[in-house]
Symmetry: C2
Subunit: 339 residues, 2 copies
DNA sequence: CTGAAAGCGCTAACAT
DNA sequence: ATGTTAGCGCTTTCAG
């Protein structure tokens, strides 16, 4: 068995308290004793049990994270940023990958509760009633990152999805496009579903661009869905000349569909994506995108959560709205009217 | 504070032992008592402390995972598979993202030790001496996934990288190519560095294809590196007509470079990647690749680790070698000799 | 079938 | 400056 504090104490010829003191860097320990204890610790390869510590300190330094899809470029990047920030602050991550699996999510939330994690980060907004009520009666700080569920009593770190979608659409309009299609997400999602859709619609309306219902399709943010919806869009008469897709993944799916139909981006169809994931630089033409500050989002999420943890009275109550930014690459071009 | 077992016992009018018994599903508890206890548990929203449990059971159900890069398509996919399998077996994941940061890795390994994780999964092979000696004297089961470090005393779940690279190169040769370039990884890596390189060389040699040193470049498995190395290769006279890149990321970087130089894949240059990551289907032309069984790899890694955990005498001693598979897509074509 | 009591490995008063 | 001791919340003998 692994050595315990008692073993160290006995061999060093001191009390466990003294060992505990050097472990926790307290003063009040004579240098020679401290040195001796440290030597014994090294010799034994002793590492204090975080378990036992947590039990008495009532603090685990664990953060539970619920990710909708680890393999998505957007989520893996934000998770990476979360991990980095957490690690810098001596927190460790317990990660749970949810693929549209409410039962698993509930199970994991329960694990988080049993584990007495210090805080929880959730990155999806399609909360079932069970989950909603579970986290509402949980006395662990919860924070939402990149999404804001309805009737939330928790803080969210997000961008203004409405504005961002509006700006993305306006960009296409300013490029001269008049047949602008939309590939959306799940309308049950407020943040990334409804807000982005309404932003698109209002941009069209405000600039007197005709809204064509046939040009509006909904999917699930994934590449395959973007591909399929684009196929439908290509069947429209007349074909749209531009597309706003609410995720880079979908935009890439759409690009591929266009490619597979012997058409060209941006010559035949301009495309703007959303998220600013790594994908934008990986595809050709490189994808213009409405970027979320993914790195900042992860960092701010963790920083805020840690404040929440250390000071339960601290409560931003307000969501943290970060700025979005249009990054122009090569997937859009100005539209020349045909007559 | 969260309710404890004592609270439940008091309210239910039984002893903590009884509560513990219903918690752990033991028999020998009268149905009415069991029902009463369960009711109280529900009312209180009581969840047993995993911390306290771990302390007495000496089992945390935690697996520590060290990933080289969460944002890479390959690693996020294998991590996703690991997570799924772990979750199915009631294990939870503590993840650590290492970006070429040995200090952070050592720190995390130490956290794993303090946390008394039941097992550790490592997914990179560039072990520093510190790390090597640390894990050697650790009495926690360690398993390597997708890599096999030198002088390992641990089990690795891998493919035969030499054979896979050989087969990939042979495919290009059989397509009629005679100027076949190689973009490799780090030669300090045995698995993905040396083995793949030697596989490439031997395939050329066995088939009497000339080896051109100028056609051989090394980088770091990432897209950018593939891009840069391809740029160098394009400057060669004569230009290679085919390329074997040891990661899909690098292959995509190379594809993009070729695209940016107004050349075409596969018409001007054929490319085969390695890994079989999601990227292969995301790019155009779709990337042919020597695929690793990523899903299986994750699953088998966890299954084996769990065996290791539950039966310390169990020791496959042998590495687990999984099969590789060439998946042909659209990035290679037969080479017509020019004369 | 149920309960009392002894730890699991550590920290934190409280003494000295 | 150092040691004694009482828990932290649970499981697990051992009695009954």
């Amino acid at each position: 068995m692994a050595p315990k504090i008692k073993d160290v104490a006995k061999i060093a010829g001191v009390s466990v308290t003294t060992v505990s003191r050097v472990l926790n860097g307290e003063k009040y320990v004579k240098d020679d004793l401290k040195a001796k204890v440290k030597r014994v610790i090294d010799e034994l390869g002793y590492a204090p049990s975080h378990i036992a510590r947590s039990l008495v300190r009532k603090k685990t330094n664990l953060i539970g994270v619920i990710v909708p899809d680890l393999t998505s470029s957007f989520y893996s990047t934000i998770l990476s940023s979360i991990e980095e920030t957490a690690s810098l602050n001596d927190y460790n991550l317990l990660v749970c990958n949810i693929i549209e699996d409410t039962d698993k999510e509930l199970k994991y939330l329960n694990v988080f509760k049993e584990m007495r994690v210090d805080g929880i980060i959730i990155m999806h907004e399609k909360l079932s009633d069970d989950i909603r009520s579970f986290i509402n009666k949980l006395d662990i700080p919860v924070i939402f990152s990149s999404v804001r569920p309805v009737d939330h009593k928790f803080v969210s770190v997000i961008i203004d999805d409405y504005e961002a979608a509006y700006d993305a659409t306006r960009y296409l309009i300013e490029l001269g496009h008049e047949r602008i299609a939309f590939i959306g997400g799940d309308m049950r999602d407020i943040t990334s579903g409804q807000n982005r859709y309404v932003g698109y619609r209002n941009a069209l309306k405000d600039h007197r661009v005709r809204t064509v219902n046939d040009y509006i399709r909904f999917g699930d943010y994934k590449t395959q869905s973007g591909y399929n919806l684009m196929k439908e869009l290509l069947a429209c008469e007349p074909r749209p000349t531009a597309l706003f897709a609410v995720s880079d993944d979908m935009a890439v799916g759409a690009m591929n569909c266009i490619h597979d139909h012997q058409l060209k981006v941006p010559d035949d169809i301009s495309i703007i994506g959303f998220d600013g994931s790594q994908l934008t630089e990986l595809v050709r033409p490189r994808l213009s995108s409405m970027e979320q500050p993914i790195q900042d989002m992860g960092k701010i999420t963790v920083d805020t959560l840690i404040e929440l943890i250390s000071d339960p009275t601290f409560s931003p109550r307000e969501d943290l709205i970060l700025g979005h930014k249009l990054v122009v690459r090569d997937s859009c071009r100005a539209y020349q009217t045909e007559r």
